[in-house]
């Protein structure tokens, strides 16, 4: 890993009233890496996600994306800059079809406004056709092409997760941030997800992953960062993390051996 980090954040701190949700967090993600973020419940994983994607404002912190500094002040700018995300509790556009959900993801990379919508001049038609084409490709990519015209809320849980990933990929991200994508999935669904994540890593972009499933994390992540009480307590390759005494203590609640 000699190249420059794709995402580099330093000294990120965030408070909620008296609670220090994040203190002095540093994170580096390199291209084509899957970086895992683990930690006990309430450790600040989702808070960190929300800070990176602009839903929360951090008090302090330096952020840079592909070498350029960016300020995550508004979610839509972060998406524009190239970070796409999914949510811990799925947030799809429930009454839209699967295809339309993904088409919304193309919003940030397309331009037609009111005139284009009403007049449908050639440029608008071309763009609309491209949006639809791309949406179909992405649904195919995540493996739910057969559900294109089904309303999002009528999809099964696992398919909704996939759809959320497809929608995020539609923004052409350079970093995909997934918040517990395997939650509530059964074994075979997890296996499929595993394959999908490897495929995304190979073909699309780097991934930042929050997940509780330790087996999945250990097998898929290139590096893992462990958060506890808003602080990073360990960082390294999966096999290092597995043996790290501070991590064991945080998870098992025991004394540091």
């Amino acid at each position: 890993m000699t190249s420059a980090p794709l995402l580099h954040i330093e000294q990120v701190s965030k408070r909620f009233g008296g609670l220090q949700a994040l203190s002095d967090v540093e994170l580096k993600i390199y291209p084509h890496q899957i970086v895992g973020l683990i930690g006990p419940n309430g450790a600040g994983k989702t808070s960190l996600f929300n800070v990176i994607t602009g839903l929360y404002q951090a008090e302090t912190g330096r952020f840079s994306l592909s070498g350029k500094s960016y300020s995550p002040s508004a979610p839509h700018r972060v998406a524009q800059a190239g970070i796409a995300r999914t949510f811990q509790n799925i947030r799809l556009f429930a009454d839209m079809t699967a295809c339309e959900n993904v088409m919304v993801g193309r919003h940030v990379r397309t331009h037609q406004g009111i005139l284009g919508a009403i007049l449908r001049h050639p440029a608008a038609r071309k763009e609309e056709a491209e949006i639809e084409q791309r949406a179909h490709e992405l649904l195919e990519f995540v493996g739910i092409a057969h559900l294109t015209d089904r309303a999002a809320r009528h999809l099964s849980y696992g398919d909704q997760r996939r759809l959320e990933i497809a929608r995020a990929l539609a923004t052409d991200p350079i970093l995909l941030a997934l918040d517990e994508p395997a939650a509530g999935m059964n074994h075979s669904e997890k296996d499929n997800l595993h394959q999908l994540l490897l495929k995304i890593k190979a073909q699309c972009c780097a991934i930042l992953l929050i997940e509780h499933d330790v087996k999945l994390m250990m097998s898929i992540c290139d590096r893992i960062t462990v958060l506890d009480y808003g602080k990073i307590i360990a960082e390294g390759e999966p096999h290092e993390i597995q043996k790290n005494p501070a991590v064991l203590a945080a998870y098992l609640g025991g004394e540091v051996a």
């Binding site: 508004a74 088409m103 089904r150 009528h154």
Partner: protein, 358 residues
């Protein structure tokens, strides 16, 4: 025929409100304000009213009055503006759209009940302005309203009918009653509005509106600039309202603040909700149904009661409100998505499910 004309105006209004409430999910209880703005623009620029404005300006602020009268010329000072419909329509569309954005801007961070209350307030503010802007400078003529608004003239044909023909309009050799001529005009406008609504719905912008309605946080995270897109929704909805208002003013020939009360906002909202929120065909149906209802009642309630009971027990107006309320309650209980909801929103699996499982 007059009933259908009015119903078509309501179709325009309901489709405009449908963009704001149905597509973008922003509950707007002051929508009639844009209707009022369109109507008053027509009142100001297509009637003798502007002469009144200048006169009162000359009384109060002679210098400004003199400057304005030299600017607009003696003809306007004597007779007011009488702009053609081709100017009035775009003007009312643009100004109402602008007001839509202006009134929308402070409400961007509000949701649900709070948004409804604020928009309700804005609707009332506009009406109260119309009611009170007769002094110190008389712009709107206050509660008396503006009279003698020009009927619509297209290609030199006045839709109010030729003078001396008893209200008949000569369209390419056919003699039509004035209300029929307006019917065709409003029908064309309605068709255009439906067309525009449909195209907006199936566009990048329409999807962004619906995405905001469904989940604002997810929409933001997908890169939608929620502020701009919401303002566009307010402005687009207001544009339709403004055009409908200008048409209303020309059709009636007279406007006063009474026509733009909160009840009207609620009636238009009821049309959208009853018909099928967010579904264009449903909204059109809702508008036609609710616009026709009071007229039907007016023509039937009194005669039926007279025939059956020999006296009038219930006034048509009272019965109308009762039925409105009852209809809305029933809709909310039985078909919460409206009488004719869009297929995806119906609360049952759509038919693709069956095919997909095969």
């Amino acid at each position: 025929m007059r009933i259908i004309d009015v119903a078509l105006l309501y179709v325009l209004l309901a489709l405009g409100l449908n963009i704001v409430v149905g597509f973008a999910g922003l509950l707007d209880l002051g929508y009639i304000a844009f209707f009022a703005i369109g109507a008053y623009l027509a009142g100001l620029f297509a009637s003798p009213q502007f002469a009144v404005v200048i006169e009162s300006l000359l009384m109060e602020y002679p210098a400004a009055g003199a400057a304005l009268s030299s600017l607009v010329g003696t003809d306007v000072v004597a007779n007011g503006f009488h702009l053609s419909v081709w100017i009035i329509i775009p003007l009312s569309a643009v100004v109402a759209g602008l007001f839509g954005a202006i009134l929308g801007a402070p409400t961007l961070k509000l949701r649900g009940d709070y948004l409804a209350i604020v928009t309700l307030g804005f609707g009332e503010i506009i009406r109260i302005f119309m009611n009170n802007l007769n002094g110190p400078i008389n712009i709107t003529n206050g509660p008396q309203g503006i009279n003698l608004i020009d009927p619509i003239q297209i290609a030199g044909i006045s839709l109010a009918g030729q003078t001396g023909s008893g209200g008949m309009v000569n369209v390419a050799g056919f003699m039509l009653p004035s209300v029929n001529a307006y019917y065709f005009l409003f029908l064309i406008l309605s068709v255009i509005t439906i067309f525009v609504s449909r195209r907006l719905q199936d566009s990048r912008l329409g999807r962004a509106w619906i995405a905001i309605r469904e989940d604002e946080i997810a929409a933001k995270s997908m890169g939608i600039n929620v502020r701009n897109v919401k303002l566009l929704a307010f402005a687009m909805g207001a544009t339709f309202g403004g055009v409908a208002g200008a048409m209303f003013a020309a059709f009636q020939g007279f406007i006063s603040p009474e026509s733009f009360s909160l009840t009207e906002s609620i009636v238009v909202l009821a049309m959208v909700v009853l018909g099928g929120i967010g579904h264009i065909a449903g909204v059109v149906m809702g508008a036609v149904l609710l616009a026709a209802l009071p007229e039907i009642l007016r023509h039937t309630v009194t005669p039926i009661q007279m025939a059956l009971l020999g006296e009038v027990w219930i006034d048509a107006e009272v019965l109308r409100q009762l039925l409105y309320g009852l209809a809305l309650v029933c809709i909310m209980l039985i078909r919460p998505a409206g009488l004719w909801p869009s297929p995806v929103r119906e609360n049952r699996p759509v038919k693709v499910d069956a095919e997909a499982k095969l």
